[in-house]
Symmetry: C2
Subunit: 279 residues, 2 copies
């Protein structure tokens, strides 16, 4: 009998019982796939033996029922897109399959969920963490791929995986942008032509803030104010533009290392988010 | 490429990628092992290829710091006991190993935690669910063994496993009792001889309630009152004696199917719990 005291030793012992590395990559999505998801899938297909893509519009992470109802669901197009990129399995469960009984167990991540999306979308990250935990248990991937466009979500998932000792490597994949800088999002297709023309201002504001940091500015408040002025337009309603530390997503008093600059704004009834790493 | 919509199909596909069934049984404990734990281990050794026993006195599930400090930790005796019963691995992590950083992610199970222990030990089940989730992820067992003495804990774990789709079979194992009926507990060793002599009254009260149900009584309140009279002694301070449904641990208005009768009481500073299934 062995007595082990470290998680690493234990897992090594247990994996020697396991014969074979599975090499399963997982890309959880809500469908309405675009080139950003495409990059997640391509990365997974390159790095693992089998790529599982889930397509599930998860009701419990929508704080706005209208947003849930309007969320696009072009399943056949999505499935063809997955096929074209070499996915092995599309997992597309019904709500009944995912929530056969009223869900009573929830995964909550503190601190990293306090600001930004967490502050403006009550319950959102509880819904995300819980459904991602369910999907992780169902798929049991070796690696899972998330886009950096949802930087706070990525930080929440990384925190959950570390805190709950999930044996899954989380891979963050760079945001894919249209040529004018707009981050790809399933919600972009809801923008009117006029809103679409304004939407690149989000990235321009972030870029301005990043360039100020590159130039040596260290005061987050003055940088935020200057970046916000880029978004001063009657059709744009900013929810936040904030400079935070990349691990805990908390505001910084002074910029002394890498920071994440994050923005959320409504264009009409469509809410867009974006972020860049700087410093 | 396959498109799957059910969790069962997906898991079948994924396990065909997996070559080998691991057959790992897991017995999570806080040490101070007794014949109740012994029965869990024996069951696991019989039913699986490799039995992992964890010994970890988890601080986050103690609502009373004094109880945590006093909790017995006879590690060498425990390890020898595991060895004698055929365990393959004892996993005995430090607090630093389990909580290297402040834990920010918690698993909460609603409803089933509202009454009984949940009502009297605030935060207890959050601590239990979170550490068991961590241990499940670390060990990745096929089956995990829990004693029915902690019936609400067993119900919480079953709910968590179902709600979060954990691919683990939860096995409840019958309570082991001393000849006079006292349920084995690591806390029994703290009882004075006088308290030890009184302690079997808990089981006697439960048995009285169960016999009334067997005789056809259907009113929980009158049964509870009668059972409580068994415990009317100046050295016994009852926290609850309650008849609940076995799945959700909620009080029943009328006994119309199987119920769990649960009791918690202090003898001096030592808190004991017990329960029986009836109906």
């Amino acid at each position: 009998m062995q007595i082990l005291r470290s998680i690493r030793e234990l897992r090594q012992q247990l994996s020697s019982i396991d014969a074979l590395r599975r090499g399963v990559g997982f890309v959880p999505t809500m469908g309405a796939l675009h080139a950003g998801h495409g990059r997640l899938m391509e990365t997974s297909v390159r790095e693992t033996d089998s790529t599982v893509v889930s397509i599930f519009v998860n009701p419990s992470q929508f704080n706005d029922p209208g947003d849930f109802a309007r969320y696009p669901r072009p399943f056949d197009t999505d499935a063809a897109f997955c096929e074209s990129l070499g996915a092995s399995i599309v997992f597309a469960p019904s709500e009944q399959e995912m929530y056969p009984e009223p869900q009573q167990t929830f995964v909550d991540v503190a601190r990293v969920t306090e600001r930004l999306e967490g502050a403006f979308r009550p319950g959102h990250f509880r819904g995300v963490a819980t459904v991602v935990m369910k999907l992780f248990q169902i798929v049991q991937p070796d690696r899972a791929y998330f886009g950096e466009k949802d930087a706070q979500q990525l930080a929440v998932i990384r925190r959950m995986v570390a805190d709950l000792n999930l044996p899954i490597e989380i891979v963050g994949v760079a945001t894919v942008r249209d040529p004018d800088g707009l981050a790809l999002s399933s919600r972009n297709q809801r923008l009117t032509p006029a809103q679409r023309a304004l939407a690149p201002l989000l990235y321009q504001a972030l870029q301005l803030a990043a360039s100020r940091i590159a130039q040596g500015s260290r005061d987050p408040q003055s940088i935020e104010q200057e970046a916000l002025s880029v978004l001063a337009h009657p059709e744009i309603r900013v929810e936040y533009l904030e400079i935070v530390d990349p691990a805990f997503m908390q505001p910084v008093d002074r910029i002394e290392g890498p920071v994440r600059i994050a923005v959320a704004a409504f264009l009409g009834s469509t809410r867009l988010i974006d972020n860049v790493l700087a410093g």
